[in-house]
């Protein structure tokens, strides 16, 4: 078990939050996006660095659930990104290559 998985298990054992099962995708469904297909604006610099990362804070802090832990590996899907920049700040390894989407693409807030 990696450190992140151990922490995840501890979180579940402790009862976690009663809302740990909340479905973020359902929330994102209400948002408007213009996805720049094939040109994700966030990239992982070195996937090996993510595998060795003890904390995987991106999987906790991303408000859109773009960063997921799938059988020990980090999966990044940027389609639902809210462009807050959190993953760039919380990555201790500076392994997140974060750029703004091309002009006009990405999230389009109706209310903001």
């Amino acid at each position: 078990m990696t450190n992140a998985e151990t922490q995840e298990a501890k979180r579940a054992d402790a009862g976690g939050s009663p809302f740990s099962g909340v479905n973020v995708e359902e929330k994102l469904f209400q948002n408007r996006y213009r996805v720049d297909v094939g040109r994700p604006h966030i990239r992982i610099r070195e996937s090996a660095v993510c595998e060795d990362c003890d904390f995987k804070s991106c999987t906790i802090c991303c408000p859109a659930g773009c960063w997921r832990l799938e059988s020990g590996k980090i999966e990044l899907v940027t389609d639902g990104c809210l462009e807050c920049g959190t993953c760039r700040i919380v990555c201790d390894q500076k392994n997140v290559d974060w750029n703004y989407p091309r002009g006009g693409f990405g999230i389009l807030f109706k209310f903001g």
Binding site: G16, F19, L28, I89, G103, F109, G112
Partner: protein, 449 residues
């Protein structure tokens, strides 16, 4: 202005080849305040915005503080899309699951125009503000992401590069108003990266309800509105606050915490928001509403000590990009507008005097800020982030003590009042020693005074 420039809003359009007096990066409150002030002073202004329209990338609670905008557009109330004027402020302590302790302040004085604070919907407000900027004569180009700064051999900033074809544009000075996730100045080495202990992440939902339902539930009518600011166990002991703002026919509900806390406690932002929405004191207020948008935004809360250099040869930095946020008073957009305006006034004065946009001359921007409420407030609370980070009891054990004490005191169970008081005091002593409490009170007073 040529037709070509007017059509520049579409991605394929060419960028203007001319040189501008000023380039403003970003069309949020800081960028708009700056661009408006500059255009009104007769300078040639190019404003670049990466969104489809100004506001499409911007997120705030949102409360508009009239004073900052009045200084830029005195008659803004005649045309700005305002939701409700605030007549009541509620300060809530919510524990994690069940109780509420509150202090409300409501006054008929807040019902007398000109109103001091309004709720706004940023996507609509920013569009309006931008319209004013364009009417003042600034050229706005949307859907254009600035990728870097251009410098001459001496290192002076002389323009910006964009992602567009032949995307370099030149100006005498660049105003960096690119917001909290401030990539351009960070990459140019003009500001250090913000640490997770100095940055909050807030998540928000916009919940629609009939106007009458909102008015009934929040005890307001007409264009009256209320603000609810929430602290306590609802943030799982992390440094943070939550809010509920009333718009005309929607509620903005959100919660934000310092990222360092989220990292350590491994609580996700959406769990925090669900915890808030499902709290028994909140749930009835939002029951039956329709969620129409979910958003997130970072807030730079490090305060005065984390402010970067504010100017240099050919550039100034304003608003969230610089970290102008008063976390204690939940102010940011007013500081953005004020720093944007003051930067613009500095630049306009230099231009009028025929002086170059050198660091030595732009130092007048910081001098003006130092003489304004902006720096006075930033300095006043400069020790607050450290105090709260190093002493989590202010937002952890004290709020939970207050709700516990009130619970015990208000439960009639056959115990004598003297016994109850003793129990409550002992309960407090168990959490913190008497000297500890006195020290906490002193430190808190020192930081606030």
């Amino acid at each position: 202005m040529t037709e070509e420039l007017k059509a520049a809003g579409s991605v394929s359009a060419k960028l203007p080849a001319e040189r501008f007096d000023v380039i403003v990066v970003g069309a949020g409150p800081a960028g708009n305040a700056a661009a408006y002030t500059l255009a009104k002073s007769g300078l040639s202004v190019l404003q670049l915005e990466r969104g489809e329209y100004p506001g499409s990338k911007n997120v705030q609670g949102a409360i508009l503080y009239s004073n900052a905008l009045e200084k830029i557009i005195p008659d803004f109330r005649d045309s700005a899309p305002l939701e409700r004027h605030i007549v009541e402020q509620r300060f809530w302590l919510l524990d994690e699951r069940s109780s509420l302790t509150s202090a409300n302040y409501r006054s008929e004085e807040f019902n007398k125009p000109p109103y001091n604070r309004y709720t706004i919907i940023r996507a609509r407000f920013d569009k309006w503000f931008s319209q004013k900027v364009q009417e003042a004569g600034a050229l706005l180009i949307c859907e254009t992401t600035v990728t870097g700064l251009l410098r001459d051999n001496a290192g002076r900033v002389i323009g910006v590069s964009t992602e567009r074809e032949n995307g370099d544009i030149y100006a005498d000075v660049v105003i960096l108003a690119d917001g909290v996730n401030s990539l351009v100045p960070s990459r140019a080495g003009l500001r250090p990266e913000i640490r997770t202990c100095d940055m909050a992440l807030a998540v928000k939902e916009v919940l629609f309800l009939p106007k009458e339902t909102i008015e009934q539930r929040f005890n307001i009518s007409g264009s009256e509105g209320s603000v609810t600011e929430i602290a306590g166990g609802i943030t799982h002991g992390m440094l943070g606050t939550a809010f509920i703002y009333t718009n005309k026919d929607s509620l903005a509900i959100g919660i934000g915490c310092i990222l360092e806390g989220m990292k350590k406690q491994r609580v996700t932002p959406s769990e925090l928001l669900e915890g808030l929405k499902n709290h028994p004191m909140v749930k009835p207020l939002i029951a039956g509403s329709e969620m129409k948008e979910y958003s997130a935004h970072m807030i730079p809360e490090g305060g005065y000590k984390t402010l970067p250099e504010l100017y240099g040869d050919g550039w100034v930095i304003v608003g969230d990009s610089a970290g102008f946020v008063n976390a204690v008073h939940r102010e940011g957009s007013n500081l953005a507008m004020t720093t944007g305006r003051i930067a613009a006034e500095t630049i306009a004065a230099l231009k009028a005097a025929g002086k170059p946009m050198s660091a030595a001359n732009l130092a007048a921007y910081k001098e003006s800020l130092d003489a304004s409420f902006v720096m006075a407030d930033m300095k006043k609370y400069q020790d607050m982030p450290d105090l709260l980070t190093n002493h989590p009891q202010y937002l952890g054990s004290y709020p939970s003590f207050i709700s516990g004490a009130l619970h015990d005191f208000l439960t009639v169970d056959g115990k004598s009042k003297a016994e109850k008081q003793h129990q409550i005091f002992q309960g407090l002593r168990q959490q913190r020693s008497l000297w500890g409490m006195l020290g906490d009170a002193y430190k808190f007073w020192r930081t606030f005074k």
